[in-house]
Structure formats: C-alpha cells, structure tokens
Point group: C2
Chain length 269, copies 2
Amino acid sequence: MRTAFYISDGTAITSEVFGHATLSLFPVDFNHKTIPFVETEEKANEIKALINATAAKEGEKPFVFFTFVNHNLSEIIKSADAVAYDFLSTYSEKIQKELDVAPVPKMHRTHSIHEKSYDFRIDAVNYALMNDDGGNIKNFSEADIILVGVSRSGKTPTSLYLALQYGIKAANYPITEDDLESEGLPKCLLPYKHKLFGLTIDPERLAAIRHRRMANSKYASIRQCRIEVREVEMLYKRHKISYFNSTHHSVEEISAKILIDSNLERRKY
Amino acid sequence: MRTAFYISDGTAITSEVFGHATLSLFPVDFNHKTIPFVETEEKANEIKALINATAAKEGEKPFVFFTFVNHNLSEIIKSADAVAYDFLSTYSEKIQKELDVAPVPKMHRTHSIHEKSYDFRIDAVNYALMNDDGGNIKNFSEADIILVGVSRSGKTPTSLYLALQYGIKAANYPITEDDLESEGLPKCLLPYKHKLFGLTIDPERLAAIRHRRMANSKYASIRQCRIEVREVEMLYKRHKISYFNSTHHSVEEISAKILIDSNLERRKY
C-alpha cells in the first residue's frame, strides 16, 4: 500500500484533513502517517530520510502533504523522493493578490491555544460534562442548546463534539419512559423549549447499541426500542421541537446539522 | 469585515479547515460563515443569492472555499460574485496523473459514519467518559493510554479529544496529595506503567484555573499549586514517565504530542 505523509511544524491537522480529503476522492487505499512538530532542520532531514526509505521499500513515491512556516524546512521536505504538495502556498499567492496584503506566516496560528475561541471551547467541554445526561438542570439557563432523546440516541458524543470543536455549551437530557407516558415535556425543560433539539434513531440500531450495554434486557429489546422511538418522535412533533435521525450520521454530521438548523454561531477561530 | 464562506454538500469541515488555515496566513480579520449540506440546485442558488447580497453589502467580494461532489452545484457557486476556490480539484488533477486512476467522488466520504474508524471513535468516547478521573480502574487493561496529573492539569479535555478525533482509548487518573506524599505511584497504576503519560502545568496557570472552580480555597492557592506541580514532576522523573507541560498548548497540540511520543496509531480513517 502506498504511503501518504502529513507533515508540519505544528499539529499537522490541516495537512491531515486536506490530504485525506483529496486522496479519498480516489478508490485507492493508503497507509496514512502523520508527523507533527517538525521544527528543526535536523528533524526535517530525519523525516526526509524516512520518506526516502519508504519510497525505496514500497517501490513508489509516497505522497507528502506539508505546511511549514520556515522556508528552509519546506525545501528539505520538497527535496525528498516523494510527490510533495505545499498545498497552502498555492492559494496563499492567489489570496495575496486579491487582498493586496502580504502573508505573515506565524508558528502555531491554527489549532493552538492562541485562537480566540480556545477558552470558550474548554469551558464548553467542562459544561458538557457537568450537564451530561440531565446531570445539573440548574445550569440550563447557560446552555446554548439542550439535546434531548431516549437513552443511547447519540446525545453525549454530540454534546462533546459541539463543545470541543465549536465552543457550544450543549447540555443533554434523557427522555425516560415516565416522560413518554405522561406525553408532556419534563418540567425542568419547559422554560427552555426554544433551546431544545431532539435526536432520534432507528429502533433496530438503538436495540443493537443498547444490547451491547445491557444484553438481553427489556431496555435493549426491539419492542421497547420501537415504543420509545415512536413516542419520542410524537413528543417532538407535539411540542414542535426540531429533531434529526442520527442513525446513518456521524457526530460531525449531526453537529453540523444542529448548528445550521438552530442558527448557532460557531465559536471556532 | 470581509466575509469568508465555507460551503459543501457535506459537513463543510474540510472547506473550513483548509480555508481558515489559508486565510490565517494573512494579518486580516474575516467574518467566517460555514454552510453545510448544500445538496440541491435550489439550495445552491439560495446560497449564491446570499453571497451576492454579502458582496453588495460589504462592497467587496467574499472569499468562498467550496467542495461539491455534484458538478452542477459547483458551477452555481462559482458563478456567484465572489473569489471562489474549488480547492480540492486543483490537487485531484495532479494526483490523478500521478496515480493513473480516475477520481470517483462520492457523497459524504469524509467525516461520515462510513469511515472505518467511526465505531472505534464512539467506543473510545464512551470509554473516556467511563474512565474519567480514575472512575473505573478495572478497565485500565483496555486503555491505549492513561493520562496522569494533578487536578485540573488538562487530562479530561485531552482524553476526550484523543477519543473523538482519533479513536484512542484514553483513561485518566488524578494524582492526589496522598500519592505525592508517599512518593510512589498509586498501586492501581503499577501494572500499567508503560501506558502512563504525565501532564504538568505552570503553577500560576493551575492556580488561576482552580480559582475559577473553587475561589480562595487551599486547593487553588499558589503555594499548594507550586507544591503539587513540583512533586508531580519529581514523581514523573523518578518513575521515568514521559510528560508534557500543557500550559501554553491546546488540546490539539497536547494530543498530537502524546500520539507521536507514545507511538500510538491514530484510528482516524
């Protein structure tokens, strides 16, 4: 399998995301290797040797997606036996012309603690943890959004993703059988109806997930899952709560959907 | 402030990461707008109208970073009054020549539930939550890594990031004053010494973080923080545990550092 390297003087997250997205357009498997924090010429030469050894072993040139602030490091990596792409610089030249402003490359400008949103993101993670699974309903006034849904419909990973990536304070609250029986919203949610977003999931998938947690229980039975899902969807409709079926979607997709539907601003940069 | 749009038929995460990284090379502020799930010509025309209205209002063309699987949608966005970059296609042509394989664009190939690593990532999130703050030491045999450190040194957000982004099962365990007094590693950690990774933090920063949690307590005092930090670093050295000072680093940077130092494979794609 051909190797693809993602290399940078920072986290290499940008190289990784861009390189992987580009390569995934092709029906070919790659061996992905991320190498962050290549900050000295010595280290760059070491990585060049690794790339060359990989080329020799695999009999074809590895792909290399790289970004460096220091031009000398770029030159070292470019001289390796590889198909190497300095992908940011292609567009930075175009943008320089458009803005009529010269680029001022700085170390660790992205994915660092210096991004304005960083403290928001860490606060939001702590908030999501403290307000997971209905943990602390007195904090709901602070929430940007409150995810609701039956047990194991995807609320927790989604809350954490919204917090970590976007600095959104996402609480989550489980809708229980008692709530479903009464057909009303739990009292503690009533003042925050405008912040609610519902998750639902196909009963078969829900049963499989619950089964892994508590095998052969009533909780995991397909009958129980069908009842809960049908009733929770009725609840959403009755109270005009936006909702989304998470069955075939990743936390990234569910989160993007929630942000756009709820018109929430990402605290990202 | 000039607007930068990140637009896609999927989550638009790739556009966002690439566009933001490119623009951040310039000392200019932008108004960032992400628009995911533009999946129909009707929706694309609606977004085109929004871009045009933004151009008219701001008196300069917005930047637009976009990716679409459907060529017709690309054409609609390209025809807007903007500086628009179809940034993946630039490289996909080069890579096609190199691979001698035609691209097969598919919807939602990245950041979706169809990525091989998706189930790993969700399992790892559940693992990180269950094993947060020494929660469940009987599961340590399953851990890929166990983060240790004094209270509030950054263990929890880092564990969650490693899990969500990379599918790494990261437990975390707080080193308490009792542990520091005895100068030994907590017994439950002894069998897993090879999995330990320490976090440390400057005492001033630690005191500020603890102060927000428990103002004017002994726990948050600078004296207490200095003692704990000095002793925990001695503990790491005594037991030859790799460690990293998190003070000036983001969870992205801390995670990248841990992965490369511990030689852990990312379960990412």
